[in-house]
Amino acid sequence: MKWLWIAVIVAATTVGEVLQALGMRRHGEIRDFRPGALGRAMAVLAQNRFVIGSVIAMAVSFFAYMGLLTISDLSFAVPATAVTYVLETILAKYVLKEHVNWLRWAGASLVIFGVALVSL
């Protein structure tokens, strides 16, 4: 059961965060942080298909995470979901077409091993 929750969380988080990055990239840089301008930006983003998709996926991930927390500790839940780092970095390169240089691969790898060690 635990691993089913993890699978749902990992899949939903990965899809949600990549869609979020895709939607925000298409929106472009947010430069004005005054409340009115932020409100207008949110109104525009609420009609962005990628952002809508990402919110749905992250809601699925959120409720699955709640389910997981009731049957396991944070010290298991957090690192087990760190596998999303690998998937998302790969998708950042191939779907988002980012220039993932060796520093970023090295950084992501260090983080994954670090998260695994912290959870032991």
């Binding site: 990549v18 990239r25 298409r26 927390l69 077409k97 980012e98 240089n101 670090g114 998260v115």
Partner: protein, 140 residues
């Protein structure tokens, strides 16, 4: 470093700090307020109105909005490792607030995470994907 690059870097650091802190405290309060079991779907909804869980949810909404703002200019492959410093803060908060022990293995993990964050945040600019931007616009 040009003033444009400096502006982007400062903005990135401020926004990343909000992303990390809202995530760390959001998860902490959620876990603190979560009931021992959630027997049915309705229990998931009512759990959201427990005070600690509500506070956690508000912080997680702030987390999501600040992360969206950050991703509007920074690469996902930059944001991911840089915001992972949150794992270190959770471990340190456990030690300071809850008096948990940090084992040698955990310290090693913390060092690896810090090294990874430092590599990416110091060694690369937040935004490299000029090519990706053009591709995204072309397919729009």
């Amino acid at each position: 470093m040009s003033s444009e690059a400096a502006r982007l870097r400062l903005k990135t650091w401020i926004c990343a700090t909000v992303v990390v802190l809202s995530n760390v405290f959001g998860n902490f309060f959620m876990k603190r307020g979560m009931p021992a079991e959630l027997p049915n779907p309705l229990a998931y909804i009512t759990a959201l109105f427990q005070p600690w869980v509500s506070l956690g949810v508000i912080l997680l909404i702030l987390w999501m909005l600040s992360r969206m703002a950050l991703l509007s200019w920074a690469d996902l492959s930059y944001v991911l490792p840089v915001t992972s410093i949150g794992y270190v803060l959770v471990a340190l908060a456990g030690r300071v607030l809850l008096n948990e022990q940090i084992t040698a293995t955990r310290w090693a993990g913390i060092l690896l995470i810090v090294a990874g964050v430092a590599l990416v945040s110091v060694g690369s600019t937040p935004q490299t994907s000029a090519v990706g931007r053009t591709t995204a616009e072309a397919t729009q």
